[in-house]
């Protein structure tokens, strides 16, 4: 469903991504990990064209993201994305956050958008908070709203960029639980995370990156069993303590 082929990306003279390739199939849950600055966020943002690449090709559901003729807005509307800092719109209520893109982008009627939004809000257990503003919710609650917002667009796949790293330790689980639920329902997901517990539980593929390169791209069992590169082994030893 997502085909990344030999992409390269530079910021000025600095190469962030070097020859990265990977495939995500329908229903896959892919976890991307690696040291800070290794290009994980950049990689995941290239998938829906938020970061352009200078070289290589990306196909999502057989649509070429890298083709200048592609209507990126339309494509993005079909891929849900959840950010580290939630990025809810602080000036809109939770309900408005859930409906604005449905109305403006998918041209749904307000009633339909509301119904859809509230359905997913209920799914993440926050129906009672629909009239609050994001600033009035805890971090974990905000992140769950962000997930509901992405789901309201009926995405064909979901991208997560360190969805729990800005959360208080107590709240990490409430978000991971929602994500586990999604994975179990068969949602195609790409997840940048350091939560190896989550990876072990639901991932079927692990990509390990370092210095802009994909160092490992294998099944969960291969990765945790015997990571092939010394860099990955070193990383795992640091992160699990």
């Amino acid at each position: 469903m997502i085909k990344i082929e030999n992409i390269n990306k530079w910021y000025g003279h600095f190469q962030v991504l070097t020859d990265c390739s990977t495939h995500v199939h329908k229903g896959d849950v892919m976890v991307i990990c690696g040291p800070s600055g290794s290009g994980k966020s950049t990689l995941i943002k290239t998938v829906n064209g938020l970061e352009p690449v200078q070289d290589g090709s990306i196909l999502v559901d057989n649509v070429a993201v890298t083709d200048p003729k592609t209507d990126l807005s339309w494509l993005r509307a079909r891929i849900g994305m959840v950010f580290q800092n939630f990025e809810l719109f602080p000036h809109l209520t939770i309900r408005e956050n859930l409906t604005i893109a449905q109305v403006k982008v998918l041209k749904r009627g307000l009633d339909e958008a509301n119904a859809k939004g509230l359905k997913y809000l209920e799914r993440v257990g926050l129906l009672a908070h629909q009239d609050k503003f994001p600033g009035q919710l805890s971090g974990g609650q905000q992140q769950r709203v962000a997930i509901a917002r992405a789901l309201s667009m009926d995405p064909i796949a979901m991208l997560f960029d360190e969805p729990t790293s800005a959360l208080d330790p107590e709240m990490i689980n409430e978000v991971l639980d929602v994500m586990v639920g999604l994975a179990q329902e068969g949602m195609t997901m790409m997840v940048v995370t350091h939560e190896m517990g989550f990876a072990r539980r639901v991932a079927n593929r692990i990509v390990f990156m370092d210095k802009g390169m994909v160092i490992e791209d294998c099944s969960k069992d291969d990765f945790f069993g015997a990571p092939r590169s010394p860099r990955a082994a070193d990383f795992l030893s640091k992160i699990i303590h």
Binding site: K45, N48, L50, S73, W74, L75, R76, A77, R78, I79, G80, M81, F83, Q84, N85, E87, L88, F89, P90, H91, I100, A101, K104, V105, L106, F133, P134, G135, Q136, R149, A150, M153, L159
Partner: protein, 230 residues
């Protein structure tokens, strides 16, 4: 000296001071603020645009305008606007533009440079992630700006925008170079005609202080009201 303050001159010219002078000042302030914010926002978007030519043009405009004293800008525009208008509508002779439209155009163009800088830092203060979130939901550039970035930038910047408007309110007094009677100008004219400068300027200072202070007090109240809950 203060003993023989002649308050009568204020009473006598009350109508002129307020119905002509203050009305003009308020009218110009409000219209120039509205126009300036709209144009300033556009300029800010231009400055932040990825297109180098566009952003260079906006940057040049802003820096040029900010380098020239407003008095001189008002002066130049009074004479140049008729020629510019003639050039736009293709009239062979300069078009007569009244002092008020000329002042309004000048203030909008001038203040836009300042509002631009405010809106620019307002837009830049919005986390980049907000733009990404908008784009990731499928909104295009203009939808993201209109629904996500600008409403927040605007709210965050309301205090600075209003502070700038208070500056604008005071700057309107510079239209004396066009001899249009704004509040200060009206007071000045009365003062000069009747030789009562001290009384008039003291009165002007008191009125301005009361209004500006009141306004900035309101700004602070408003700031607490509209601040986005974070």
């Amino acid at each position: 000296m203060l003993g023989n303050f002649d308050f009568d001159v204020i009473v006598r010219s009350w109508g002129y001071l307020f119905q002509t002078g203050m009305l003009f000042t308020l009218k110009l302030t409000v219209l120039a603020m509205a126009g300036g914010i709209v144009m300033g926002t556009l300029l800010a978007l231009m400055r932040l645009s990825g297109n180098r030519a566009v952003s260079l043009f906006a940057t040049g405009y802003v820096n040029l305008v900010r380098a020239v004293p407003l008095v001189l800008v008002i002066f130049w525009f009074y004479f140049l606007v008729p020629y510019i208008a003639a050039w736009i509508i293709g009239s062979p002779a300069p078009v007569q533009v009244g002092a008020f439209p000329s002042a309004l155009i000048t203030f909008i163009l001038f203040e836009a440079a300042y509002y631009c800088e405010i809106m620019r830092s307002g837009i830049q203060s919005i986390p980049r992630g907000q733009v990404w979130a908008g784009r990731a939901l499928g909104m295009n550039y203009w939808q993201t700006m209109a629904n996500v970035v600008l409403p927040q930038a605007f709210r965050n910047m309301i205090p600075v925008l209003l502070t700038q408007t208070i500056v604008l309110f005071q700057d309107v007094s510079l239209v004396y170079v066009l001899s249009i009677p704004d509040f200060v100008g009206a007071a000045g004219k009365v003062a000069q005609r009747d030789g009562r400068l001290v009384e008039m300027y003291t009165f002007v200072a008191v009125v301005y202080f009361a209004l500006c202070y009141g306004l900035s007090f309101l700004v602070r109240r408003l700031q607490q009201r509209v601040a986005i809950i974070r």
